[in-house]
Amino acid sequence: MREIKYMDAINEAMKEEMSRDETVYLIGEDVSQDIWGTSCDLFEMFGSERVRDTAISEAAIIGSAVGAAIAGYRPVVNTMFADFAMCGADELLHKAAKWRFTHGGKIRIPMVVRAPAGGYSRLGPEHSQCPESLFMRTPGLKIAMPSTPYDAKGLLKTAIRDNNPVIFLEHKNLMGHTGPVPEEEYLVPFGVADIKREGTDVTVVATGFMVSLAQEVAEVLQQDHDVSLEIVDPRTLEPLDLDTILASVRKTKHLVVVDEETSRCGPAAEIGMLVMENAFDYLDAPIKRVAAANYPIPGGYLEQFVLPQPQAMADAVAAVLGREKLDLQGKVVAKGAM
């Protein structure tokens, strides 16, 4: 199968869906260009009516998408940085997420908010967040978080066709990653986890950029320490495919949840809790989470002490297995987009 970049997979999804359905349009600041490289030819193909550069006005961008969606369009917002979505928090967390419910389900809000997320580029607290928990704590939103070009394309197409607001957390650090993507059209359904690596000793649930790190860590642990990780990628956090996670935990008896979001009240806490509630008796050891430490994400040199690092994953694996340190010897490094 041909291999293409994550950013190009996103671009293909946009192009295919915009061609298929003329109610789909893209809106945001400098979306005709997109600093992460996903737009390139969209403006040329679809023009300024459907690729809409706006003023710096996140509330209006997101709020207008809600209003257009209610009136029958399918806006795709790009917030440039996931962090900036907070400037339209009421619009996203109240209007997009709750307007349908508030009105007894009488309207539909088919919209996608593409939120380029993630750290490791040392850009500091307001350009590095991966704000999954913010969206998970907000029923009414769906949340997709692709870790590969294949998933990125298939999930984005599904997101655009979904009749509900979808947060699409495309990870900045994955933009240049390549992977197999079929020429033929396909969709990746929501709520279906993907086992990114089969294994026997420890289940590692991971999302987004963490999947690729976990895969590298798993490789080293297998080679150097004969430890076998099973990596489960939920792909969507809402809906969440708990069954696949539970099945894996029942098999391995050990769980590590890896997540780039701040630890406190994060997805790792939620997933850990769900597993405890549903598979307590299968666990041979307490669940471990590897997530960002409870600080804002510092810029510069200090970032590495806050964001989850590969060795911390290995440490967590060692802990659930009751083993001494499993040293990666620096063989896996978390690299940023810049």
Partner: protein
Amino acid sequence: MELSKELLIDLYTTMVRIRRCDEKVIECLFAGKLITFYHSCQGQEAPGTALGRSLRKDDYLYYNHRGHGLPKVLPKGMSPKTFIAEHYGRATGAAKGYAGFHNCDIEIGIPGMGGMVGGEATLAAGTALACKLRGKGQVTANMFGDGATGRGPFHEAMLMSATWKLPLIWCVENNRYQQWTCISLTHPKEDLADFAHGYGIPSAVVDGQDVIACYEALQPAIERARAGKGPTLLEFKTYRFRPHVEGFPDFSVQCEGGCRPEFEVEEWKKRDPIKLMEATLLEKGVLTEADIERIHREATEEMEEADRFSADSPWPDPKGLDQALYAD
């Protein structure tokens, strides 16, 4: 502009229906029959009536909490039955009982209301964008209180609408108070229409007690929007006759003797929009005293019927929660 006799009667009748509906809701509230609270719109019937009766069915209208939209949604075509039923919290309500005071009927262009003052402005911009993209001459209107102009998203939406020449009519009902705080404490200028200048869009200040003046001011704005020439900001000077929210007195420690001086309330009550219109129509010979009596009686009966309908309606079924949360 010479308004037809039918239209004049229609505007008058609509305002009477709004008043009767508002009174009925208050009566039900104090009888302990409603599920939440109520913000009466008495005194402010004119701008919404003029707006709702000016729009096409396929135009969109965003309203605010005052009367929970009553003076806008009833003229746009919502039945008092679903309106009152929502306040009863019943499954037949305008939000299927999910809200208690937000009212929605997308079939007649009423997308609903949020809980944040001024929060509809950005949605209105998007709906107007949809109207523009669809190219069928639809327009969107957003009517809100003076308080909403304090909010940033309103300004972001104004900018978007002005830049993209969206078919949007911004209508502010300036009743000089946000809850208990007088506008003199929150805004440096008397006329909120002045905000239009920064966005380069036309604006006008309108007598919000005179439904004919309201109607006349709206027509060019709506035509402009339909013709693709962009938004207009209209400011309707008006006043609410009752407290901000029923059951709470209109009191503020900031002002001696309550938040609104007695004489101010009295002055404004002399300009009751229904009475003013009544006088005009009698004078013009469009209506007789008997017509008026009939219009009021019919409105009263309509609201009594709506009340009965609501009281007899079932509670919403919690089994519907999932379907309300996510569309298929």
